[in-house]
């Protein structure tokens, strides 16, 4: 009897966790660690591991993005695609090939420069292949959507959405023609974690 009650409770928590991660309830998608802890209890990480296993059946995954070395209550969890879309599929999501190429150039340049690069420098690089008017509007859109962020001094950083959605190591590896290694998440369902070292801002 007690066991049945535990199973029902667990299912309820799983459903609650899925709702918190999937439904947008703030400006940003996903949920913060403290929100999940409050809704699911102290063992929220175990619930998320179980949810990740359930998501795996649907080609999704739970992803944690932390902003420092150690995990903290301000870490954010998202539901993302476990695999990656093809270019043709990405186009059906409303992305142009040019947009994808521009974001790749911007991100790769920022990452190779220790996580920050002047906006003007990125614009100059893009100007070799794209018209200026397209560059400005596209970079603006990337900033608005959270793929990039800009500070008062005109420096570009990797935005919150890029940290959640883009496997930075894979991106740089693919650029240099390296083989993509299968991630641990594909071998065994487990909440994927991305630790981001925030560049020093003034």
């Amino acid at each position: 009897m007690a066991e049945e009650r535990d199973v029902a409770e667990l299912r309820e928590k799983l459903a609650r966790a899925a709702q918190l991660l999937l439904y947008k309830h703030h400006m940003q998608p996903g949920a913060k660690a403290w929100e999940l802890k409050r809704a699911l209890g102290r063992d929220y990480e175990q619930i998320l591991n179980l949810l990740d296993a359930e998501f795996d059946k649907l080609g999704l995954q739970v992803k944690r993005v932390s902003e420092g070395e150690a995990s903290s209550d301000s870490d954010r969890y998202y539901a993302t695609l476990r695999g990656h879309p093809r270019v043709t599929e990405a186009r059906t999501f409303g992305w142009r090939i040019d947009d994808m190429a521009m974001l790749t150039v911007a991100l790769a340049h920022i990452l190779s420069k220790q996580g920050k690069a002047p906006l003007k420098e990125v614009e100059r690089m893009l100007e070799e292949k794209f018209p200026r008017w397209r560059i400005e509007s596209t970079l603006d859109r990337f900033i608005r959507r959270g793929y990039l962020s800009e500070d008062d001094e005109g420096l570009l950083y990797v935005g919150w959405r890029a940290r959640a959605e883009i496997d930075q190591r894979t991106l740089l590896g693919l650029l240099l023609g390296k083989e993509e290694k299968p991630s641990e998440a594909e071998a065994e369902p487990k909440v994927e974690t991305t630790k981001v070292e925030e560049p020093q801002r003034d």
Partner: protein, 263 residues
């Protein structure tokens, strides 16, 4: 010599700033050498300005040392790849391949939007309170009014038109100013415009601004004494030959009360 000292310190500050803002290799900065130079300069620094520059230069170099630490951390991380190599690749790859690199490293966030019970309740309330389209489109009841005539005196009574001609008012104020300035030929601005009512004070200030603008009087500002002097001219001056500038003078009710109490 002091110029050279300042130039060196400014150069160090600028260099450190460039490392921080442009992301250039912090190991390109000869930190030790610069610290040695600053140490040599320190006994000769006398002015506050020079000492301040010295502090800024030392802080800048300390920041470069911090950036060097971060640089080493980044280089030892799995994400480090030679920036030059990355740049070459970015230049060489065609747009389609760059897009393919993005797609293969992309795991888009899955996100759904839904109405919450609170949102539904708000929507219901909005729907209930919303007037029908017919009601909203109903025209406003208006009555056509034909143009008529109104007497000048009536307009003056309504405060739209002054009973006195503006030029005459200005002329009268000029004469008052000349009288108030007397033999000294000058009077304090505040003494001249100040009256028993705030409204009248503002009106006099407004008229004085025209007197000065049209060349009937001049203003002299004494910032140290915090005084403004008005000097009426015997004849209006041609302003084309004079260099003019605007002086904003704020008149608040508090200021008027303060001066009134102060006598």
């Amino acid at each position: 010599m002091p110029g050279e000292r300042q130039e060196l310190m400014l150069r160090i500050i600028d260099l450190c700033d460039t490392v921080r803002k442009r992301g250039i290799d912090p190991f390109d900065v000869e930190v030790r050498e610069f610290f040695d130079r600053l140490r040599e300069l320190l006994p000769n620094l006398k002015k506050h300005e020079e000492l301040y520059l010295d502090i800024q230069a030392v802080l800048g170099l300390a920041d470069v040392v911090f950036q060097q630490g971060e640089w080493i951390k980044h280089k030892s991380s799995m994400l480090y790849l030679d920036p030059l190599l990355i740049m070459l690749k970015l230049h060489a790859l065609p747009t389609r391949e760059l897009a393919d690199v993005f797609a293969r490293s992309w795991h888009p966030i899955v996100q759904l939007e839904t109405l919450s019970p609170h949102g539904i309740a708000e929507a219901k309330q909005y729907w209930t309170n919303l007037p029908s389209l017919e009601e909203r489109w109903r025209g406003l009841d208006t009555t056509e009014v034909f143009t008529g005539e109104i007497a000048r005196r009536e307009l003056a009574r309504m405060g739209i038109l002054s009973e006195e001609d503006f030029a005459a008012v200005l002329d009268r104020t000029w004469r008052e100013l000349k009288e108030a300035a007397g033999e000294r030929g000058e009077i304090s601005y505040w003494d001249f415009i100040h009256t028993q009512s705030f409204e009248e004070t503002v009106k006099r200030a407004w008229l004085v601004s025209f007197l000065v603008s049209y060349g009937y009087a001049t203003l002299e500002l004494k910032p140290l004494e915090e005084e403004i002097l008005l000097r009426p001219l015997p004849k209006p001056r041609e302003l084309e030959r004079v260099a003019t500038f605007s002086v904003p003078i704020a008149i608040s009710r508090d200021e008027w009360l303060r001066r009134r109490k102060g006598g």
